[in-house]
């Protein structure tokens, strides 16, 4: 019987050789932030997952160029953004307190970090449900969104890999606050492969989420578009703790199943919503994703289910639980990439005030959110001129959320854009966000036009 088992080793070898050759030629090795990877932007290139193929599973032919043990990678994300209104989701004349409970403050995002144009509530009190801001308000502005530097060390003698990602975020701090430039340790972890030849890895440190799939393209150089979805705030934050990954190939079914499990200080909420560098309750959160992959010669399907449970890490009461679950799916065929995710969040009321990554606030309110996003992209190879691939994409998403005692709000967004790869080191993206307040929140002018130029090394 001729099946996957007879093909896979040769395929893996080809991919590995190509990956090694590319890495050696360009020095560009994908940040080893996770072994689970997204359905890629349909660029006509290799699946990024194939660059991650582990060296324990095969033997390279003699003479194959190897990536050096120490690799420096990084990117600069430079952009231009113009948000509607005053750059916030706060409607003029709204005097409710806290200002951030009755609107979606994350809606007017301008970059891949999810930073918004403004969170200026005009002096009204807020209660910590805020993203980071680039403080441009409704004024068009150039932005240096991220300067990111990765360092990766792969030992040649033992199956250990270390990875550090440092990011500088130069910002104007807002009226009276001058220039501020945060230096962020986005990731720092070591990874061990205990059993040679097995896709089983154990990581310790600060690493990517294991929940869902959107975390896979948090960084500007990996994201198809520019801005994250309305649900990304719950699933794309990095976490500090321990993580294990196991994947089992089922060759005769052209399939694989994987399990990603983590015990961490906090959840995968973004860092503006919770501190990640300390456990505030002394009890870790557990999160996991069970994945299934179908790898056919001309198509790839990935399905997953995720869960998370533990004390919310923005307060001190270990009996105040955060529970999440979600489902994700990705399909890649004929240059078309389809992906989507559903996320369900329930947080019990906490005690001891709210501690976020930004400041301390009065109340850790009970909170609930349900939402989904779906994205379609199609990569068009350009065989002439400086362009390599042009990828139009569109995403639709909805978010329904409420704080206890406040009116539930339902918002939606249509995101459309174009991504152009001019070379391996240069990506240009243009995007428009059409934000809609469907129910519960006053309608407000908070649409966004934004661009991003990503230089990669």
């Amino acid at each position: 019987m001729r099946g996957r088992s007879g093909r896979r080793p040769r395929s893996a070898l080809i991919w590995a050789v190509l990956a090694a050759a590319r890495a050696a030629a360009t020095g560009q090795v994908r940040a080893e932030t996770s072994v689970e990877t997204p359905v890629p932007a349909p660029t006509g290139e290799l699946d990024p997952e194939d660059f991650d193929t582990q060296p324990e599973g095969f033997v390279l032919p003699s003479g194959t160029p190897m990536a050096p043990p120490l690799t420096l990678m990084g990117y600069v994300d430079f952009g231009f953004a113009d948000a509607g209104g005053d750059g916030t989701s706060f409607p003029p004349g709204d005097n409710r307190v806290p200002a951030d409970y009755g609107v979606d403050t994350f809606a007017p995002a301008v970059n891949s970090r999810g930073d918004v144009a403004s969170i200026d509530a005009g002096g009204r009190a807020t209660n910590g449900f805020l993203p980071r801001s680039v403080n441009i308000g409704g004024r068009p502005s150039f932005l240096l969104n991220t300067v990111s530097q990765d360092l990766r060390y792969q030992s040649t003698h033992v199956p250990v890999m270390a990875f550090v990602r440092i990011q500088a975020l130069p910002r104007w701090g807002g009226d009276g606050r001058g220039n501020v430039a945060d230096l962020l340790v986005a990731q720092a972890f070591g990874r061990v492969t205990p059993f040679e030849g097995r896709e089983f890895f154990v990581s310790g440190g600060k690493f990517d989420s294991v929940f869902g799939i959107e975390y896979l393209e948090t960084e500007a150089n990996y994201r198809t578009g520019i801005t994250p979805s309305l649900m990304a705030r719950y699933t794309t934050g990095t976490a500090l703790g321990l993580k294990g990954f196991y994947r089992k190939q089922i060759a005769r079914l052209w399939s694989a199943v994987s399990l990603n499990v983590a015990a961490t200080n906090g959840s995968n909420f973004v860092e503006s919503l919770q501190p990640t560098d300390a456990s505030l309750t002394g009890v870790p959160l557990l999160s996991a994703r069970l994945g299934y992959e179908l790898d056919l010669p001309r198509a790839q399907l990935k399905l997953g289910g995720s869960g998370l449970r533990g004390p919310r890490n923005d307060q001190f009461d270990r009996s105040a639980l955060l529970e999440m679950f979600g489902f994700d799916a990705r399909l890649y065929f004929a240059g078309v990439s389809l992906s989507g995710e559903y996320v369900h969040v329930d947080e019990e009321e906490g005690a001891g005030g709210k501690q976020t990554g930004a400041a301390a606030y009065l109340i850790a309110s009970a909170f609930h959110a349900r939402g989904f996003w779906g994205q379609a992209a199609y990569g068009v190879p350009i065989p002439f001129g400086p362009l390599r691939v042009v990828t139009p994409y569109v995403r639709y998403e909805q978010r329904h959320a409420w704080f206890e005692g406040f009116r539930p709000i339902t918002v939606a967004r249509v995101t459309g854009g174009l991504r152009a790869e001019l070379s391996e080191a240069l990506i240009v993206k243009v995007e428009f966000l059409l934000n809609q307040e469907l129910a519960g929140a006053p309608q407000v002018d908070n649409n966004v036009f934004t661009t991003s130029v990503v230089y990669t090394w």
Binding site: A125, R309, D317, E404, G405, Q443
Partner: protein, 398 residues
């Protein structure tokens, strides 16, 4: 007993089991809590005190706030007090613990046209001719609920169906013109909590309290109907930018107990008139105080010689008051720092012929601060909605 390395696994076990299986890790942390009239009504049933905090361990007896009836209903109590040296009274429909600040929230009154001289002249009407119910957005299920409101007048377009305006969202979506009015105190209430069948009076003086104290059947919060009490306008101040309400001290007069901790005397509380030790004169034009609707409870620790005056227990002193044309009830419960004799140098002012002028009364913010000093005035973590309905010895506006 667990071995040390086994104990290290406890947090992980906690994470995998129900959260309640582990001890809360909240020692010493804030526990913000709000009691509205809905919660106080429940406390009446259970008989448990409300607003219990380490700084006020006895809390507040819900029977002080509401008077229960046999049929399960309850009426709002008028609570006697003193302020600026004269009898006062207030109601106390809400309490907070561990709130460093409370904010005003918007309260929308629907009108058909804006009249800056008389904002309520054009109140929108229901089909039956009654005033359209006001609309607010932050209800008592939220810890951000506040009975301290900034009133806004929302002007309906011609021909608008007033019954469609039952949420603030609709007001914003229709981009109604909005004009700010005065700050008001309104407390939402269960239907079974009322003002009672007879007009409320001062508990000691038996004279009517403020005419503005009223009960209304309906306001709209997110499409849900809710009754409320009207407790007066412009009886607090707030920061216009942050919307944070300014506190007034409400003194609970206490003495040191055997263990040295303050023990409240149970006497009427004393409403201050400004920030502690600010020396600010009371702002009460026309006898209508612009303070008091939001207060923080302070323990004012009086000397061992302090006691509350009881006209029944001191008939001679009461007679002196009567002879001076003063109703002895106007001094009931008022605390004098030199009421009893303990040391030979002490004077028992309730028995002196120069009563009441010979007493050092603790019946105003100034006298408490001057007599007791900062070290004997201790802030608690308890704040309350305490709109005055009786001030300067009479019902406000009477």
């Amino acid at each position: 007993m667990l071995r040390p390395n086994a104990r290290a696994l406890v947090p992980l076990i906690c994470a995998m089991t129900a959260g309640g299986a582990c001890e809360p890790g909240t020692d010493g942390e804030k526990q913000p809590r709000l009691w509205s009239l809905f919660d106080v009504s429940q406390a009446l049933v259970t008989g448990s005190p409300v607003a219990v905090a380490p700084s006020l361990p006895q809390g507040i007896d819900p029977h002080e706030i509401l008077a229960p009836a046999a049929d399960g209903s309850a009426t709002l109590n008028i609570i006697p007090a003193y302020s600026e040296g004269a009898p006062a009274a207030y109601v106390m429909p809400e309490l907070w613990v561990d709130f460093d600040e409370v904010w005003v929230q918007p309260w929308y009154v629907l009108v058909t046209a804006w009249n800056s001289q008389s904002p309520t002249q054009n109140r929108a009407k229901n089909a039956d001719g009654t005033n359209a119910a006001p609309v607010f957005d932050v209800g008592p299920n939220s810890l951000f609920y506040s009975p301290l409101w900034q009133v806004y007048y929302a002007v309906l377009p011609a021909g608008a169906d007033v019954s469609q305006y039952t949420s603030a969202e609709r007001i914003f979506d229709d981009k109604l013109a909005i004009y700010p009015g005065s700050p008001w105190t309104y407390s939402v209430r269960p239907d079974a909590v009322t003002l009672g069948a007879t007009p409320p009076v001062h508990p000691y003086l038996q004279t009517p309290v403020a005419s503005f104290l009223s009960s209304a059947p309906t306001a709209w919060v997110d499409g849900e109907q809710m009754g409320y009490f009207g407790e007066g306008s412009s009886n607090f101040t707030y920061d216009a930018a942050s919307l944070e309400v300014e506190e007034t001290p409400l003194y609970v007069i206490a003495r040191r107990g055997p263990d040295g901790s303050p023990a409240p005397l149970g006497a009427p509380r004393v409403m201050g008139s400004g920030p502690p030790f600010a020396g600010r004169p009371a702002d009460a034009p026309g006898g209508k105080p612009r303070f008091g609707a939001y207060s923080r409870l302070y323990l004012a620790v009086a000397p061992a010689t302090a006691a509350a005056f009881d006209p029944d227990a001191a008939p001679d002193a009461a007679a002196l008051l009567t002879a001076g044309g003063i109703d002895p009830e106007a001094y009931r419960g008022r605390v004098a720092a030199n009421a009893t004799k303990i040391a030979s140098a002490d004077v028992a002012c309730f028995t002196r012929p120069d009563f009441p002028s010979g007493c050092t009364w603790l019946d105003s913010q100034g006298s408490i601060e001057d007599s007791l000093g900062a070290t004997n005035i201790v802030a608690t973590k308890v704040t309350a909605c305490t709109p005055l309905v009786f001030y300067g010895g009479k019902g406000i506006g009477r």
